[in-house]
Subunit: 189 residues, 2 copies
Amino acid sequence: MNLQEELIKTAVKLFEERGYARTSVQDIVTVAGVTKGAFYHYFTGKEDVLMMLHEQYINHLLGQSREISSRPDLGPKAKLRELMKILLGEIAQYGGHAKVFFQEKNHLHPDHLELIREKRDEYFLLFEKVVREGIESGDFRSDLDPVITTLGVLGICNWSYRWFRPDGKYSSNEVANMFGEMIERGISS
Amino acid sequence: MNLQEELIKTAVKLFEERGYARTSVQDIVTVAGVTKGAFYHYFTGKEDVLMMLHEQYINHLLGQSREISSRPDLGPKAKLRELMKILLGEIAQYGGHAKVFFQEKNHLHPDHLELIREKRDEYFLLFEKVVREGIESGDFRSDLDPVITTLGVLGICNWSYRWFRPDGKYSSNEVANMFGEMIERGISS
């Protein structure tokens, strides 16, 4: 890991523990054991770190999910299952990022918040598109509201940022399969 | 609404908008248009308001849910549907409370946090008990993990604090019925 990565990782840990508002650049450099000069070599300030970790989180998620979404060999059920696996895997692996992403976005600069919102919207629409495809193909119930269904699927997965423990009883893939099974039965025609 | 209620409502609004850390007692009294003396007549400080709103939220939820959970005339499916309806209704009606409840609990005094945790645990166990009853009665699938299933049901409902709008397309009862249907089909044997 390079120093920039190291500083982001330290910041995530501090934002997660104390909250963004109560963490200073001084706290980050003290815990990371570097000088403020080193910090300002990589970041323009605290908000810059917050933006970078938001981007890391959503870009990583979007990249993998776009790929699944565009695969012609997968039907709606398989796509939805894979999208859930990616999301639960991301939250399992980057729990700190996820927590900060869900709780501290209002501290982003308005322009940055707008950029993150656009990506979140794109991410939401990837899920919604799969739900709509499934309704059209007859795989999913025709009485479903695609938006509410998408909100439900995202809710069941996203909420895991509050309880999933990497050292817990189940891996994120096992949880994804349990939730995937529940959702698939829940929305299949 | 009495003055104490008025102050809690103002505090919820400010905590929701700016976060607890960035809201002062002075902010609360200024927005509410009362003196600090009036504030300290009802509360010992800012944390006291935070604790009261946490208690209001969880007590209201627990009271209604305990009643449903103990009704001998309802089977597991009906109980689960009613519990979801109560939770989604609570979030719809007290969105600000819910948001502060989910995001600011770490600002509670450790003793207060412990009290709230106990009530949250009791609430979780009410849901889990219904899931276990349903597995035992054969209403729900025998291969379900009751804890993961409960986390899924709570996740799908709780996440609505981030998106539900009282002036949106559906009422909280309508959403509860859509999610209830999805969950019921998803976990039925």
